[in-house]
Amino acid sequence: MERIVFGTLPYDVAHLLGGAVLLLSFTLLSQRRIAATINTYALQAVVIAASSCWQAYVQHAPHLYLTGALALIAKGVVIPLALHRLVRRLRLSHGVETALGIFPTMLLGVGLVTLSIMVVLPTTVQSQALTREDLALALSVVLLGMLMMITRTSALTQVIGFMSLENGLILAAVSVEGMPLVVELSVAVLVLVAFVVFSTFFLRLRAQFDSLDTRHLDRIGSAHR
């Protein structure tokens, strides 16, 4: 296993891919239409898959190819298609309902990235450069995903936020050198994600809710104190 060091090709590519994921996270935050959001997410998943494969290649860890393939198929194709179908079937509004305006959200996102870098960079001075950079990127993606979850009111966008958060996890997992159980973990995470999507479907198909606005669910919850 060769060392991944700053300034070499493996590092640059990994860094590039990680940066792309973060950029796509920001793009996700800035989307105003559901369909575009789903597409952006699919793109992010594809980049994650690519990153995973690249790590498999440079770390000589063939099981990471599996992770990459899973990401590509499930998150890059199946889930986006399902979500599109969901939007069509349920005739959901095409706009993204926000609790906080797009611009303040972006501003907050920038703040979060700064925080991530502040937390990660000084802490890992002796560690390999790749993981340090990637860790900061992954942390930013996780935080941005969570930010998306809390600044969007519709269940669908929240789910996408969650999945983007999860992309950050995979990014972190694959870029750490020699992490065992990555495949198993990514499968488990995928199950979790699939479950979230499924339950979103499930809720709507039960026809008990007029919209996927989660405020309705909250109302039910608080009726039973």
Partner: protein, 487 residues
């Protein structure tokens, strides 16, 4: 990998196999028997754990894990016993049908099995996966009744725990990264025992980052405020036996993880002191839950808040650190699990009898169902930290330890305990005493609780009492050994 087949892992495998079997069995009656058998088997295996200490790459049997596993298996077993009657009544009342009952048993067993796996696993990744699977089982079982509010509750449960568990995974990755320099790549850096051994050489600054994420992630599962949002709803809407196990075991599993994490953090000189954040969350939970108890009208929701309070107190004790405080925390968790599941069993039966679970509907239980009312009263007394039950002893220990290390924190803790205890007593009076509420819904489906159906609760309370005033020396030594696992 051979240690998958060690006898210890059978503890977790028995319920999982039971779950598989249950997925195939059609009859609800047979299903409940299989569930009892599977959980009984698991308990039998768990009972042998103290003599099987040791660890492999995946399986860890140290006194801490063994103790909590026995506890979990025990509560699982009594809950399975209790479920038999509970589900029969639910079916008779038409709230569940046959397939649902089957699903219930299967999910319950898988929930139990995954939790035991999470406890007995030596690998952080496996712990994480098991807890995630347990969460999914629990979510499904909470939403089982398919009522609007049940679905809303399970959705909330799922989203919050999902986010929590995702954060925990991130923490796990960072922890691995932190351990890399000390342990190199491979399984060692994800193994509890190795991590504990090599903690001083880990990268402290990365440990801090991991600690934050793991604390928030597993703190969500432990129901620590302000991460507790899922708990009240899930408890209130889930089938009662599940509430009992949720309240007891999930919190314990999460607290054990936090305890182990504290041990790792504490033995690294560069890392921050893990005590204050854990104590802060614990204290916040105690205070928040204590005050929240006052506004509750739903019985199960009420006791869910009580669980948050107790879990917070245990976390607080974990944060205090030191052998004595950890001992107190373990004792607290143990007795709380026993008492809370007894209370939930009583509450579930009472709710079935009255056909509602608001305090308004459930009053004067002693007048209508004497044995049930008295048992519930004893359970609430136990939760309120009164003798002869063990929470009394553990609260004394926790307060004494606090007094010796952080005297000023005694005040907020005491305020929390007093405010919470006061409301518990008030609710004890509301539930058990006074004239019985006249409800037309008193269903004939739910027969009077006889001695047999109350027996599990009695056993729980008797154990809680023994731990309070007459703890055997051997048990004390065992618990001390469990506490000594974490430095």
């Amino acid at each position: 990998m051979a240690d998958w087949f060690e006898p210890a892992s059978a503890t977790a495998l028995a319920p999982l196999l039971g779950a598989v079997l249950l997925a195939l069995i059609r009859s609800p009656r047979l299903g409940s028997l299989i569930a009892i058998a599977a959980s009984g088997l698991s308990l039998a295996f768990a009972a042998r754990l103290p003599w099987q200490s040791g660890h492999g790459v995946f399986i860890l049997v140290d006194p801490l894990a063994a103790h909590v596993a026995i506890l979990t298996a025990f509560v699982g077993f009594t809950s399975a016993l209790y479920s038999r009657r509970y589900i029969a009544v639910e079916i008779a009342a038409g709230r569940l049908d046959g397939p649902r009952a089957r699903q219930y048993h299967a999910l319950f067993m898988s929930f139990l099995g995954f939790m035991l796996l999470a406890l007995l696993s030596n690998n952080l990744g496996v712990t994480w996966v098991a807890l995630e699977a347990a969460t999914i089982s629990a979510v499904l079982v909470v939403g089982l009744t398919r009522t609007e509010s049940a679905i809303a509750a399970s959705w909330k449960f799922f989203i919050l725990c999902g986010v929590g568990i995702a954060l925990a995974l991130f923490g796990t990755v960072v922890l691995y990264l932190a351990a890399l320099p000390a342990l190199g790549t491979g399984y060692a850096a994800m193994t509890w025992t190795e991590l504990a051994r090599a903690a001083p050489n880990c990268r402290g600054t990365l440990l801090n980052l991991a600690f934050v994420f793991l604390l928030v992630g597993y703190g969500t599962k432990a129901g620590l405020a302000p991460l507790h949002g899922w708990m009240p709803d899930a408890h209130a809407e889930g089938p009662t036996p599940v509430s009992a196990v949720l309240s007891g075991s999930v919190l314990n599993v999460a607290l054990v993880v936090i305890l182990r994490l504290r041990g790792i953090m504490a033995s690294n000189a560069q890392a921050i002191d893990p005590g204050p954040p854990i104590m802060a969350l614990g204290l916040l939970s105690v205070l928040f839950a204590a005050f929240s108890l006052w506004g509750r009208r739903d019985v199960k929701r009420f006791f869910a808040f009580s669980s948050i309070e107790q879990s917070g107190l245990a976390a607080f004790a974990i944060g205090l650190g030191g052998a004595s405080a950890t001992f107190a925390a373990l004792l607290h968790m143990t007795v709380h699990t026993l008492a809370k599941s007894a209370v939930f069993q009583c509450v579930g039966s009472a709710a079935q009898r009255r056909g509602a679970q608001s305090f308004q509907a459930l009053s004067g239980l002693i007048a209508s169902d004497r044995a049930l009312g008295l048992t519930l009263a004893a359970g609430i007394v136990a939760l309120a930290g009164l003798p002869p039950f063990g929470l009394f002893a553990s609260e004394i220990l926790i307060l004494s330890n606090t007094m010796n290390t952080h005297p000023w924190l005694v005040l907020p803790v005491s305020i929390g305990l007093l405010v919470g205890g006061w409301k518990l007593i008030a609710r004890l009076i509301d539930l058990c005493l006074g004239p019985a509420t006249e409800t037309s819904a008193t269903s004939s489906h739910a027969p009077v609780m006889g001695a047999l159906s109350l027996a599990p609760a009695w056993v729980h309370l008797a154990l809680a009492a023994v731990l309070g005033v007459a703890m055997p020396m051997t048990f004390a030594a065992w618990l001390a050994a469990a506490a000594a696992v974490v430095p």
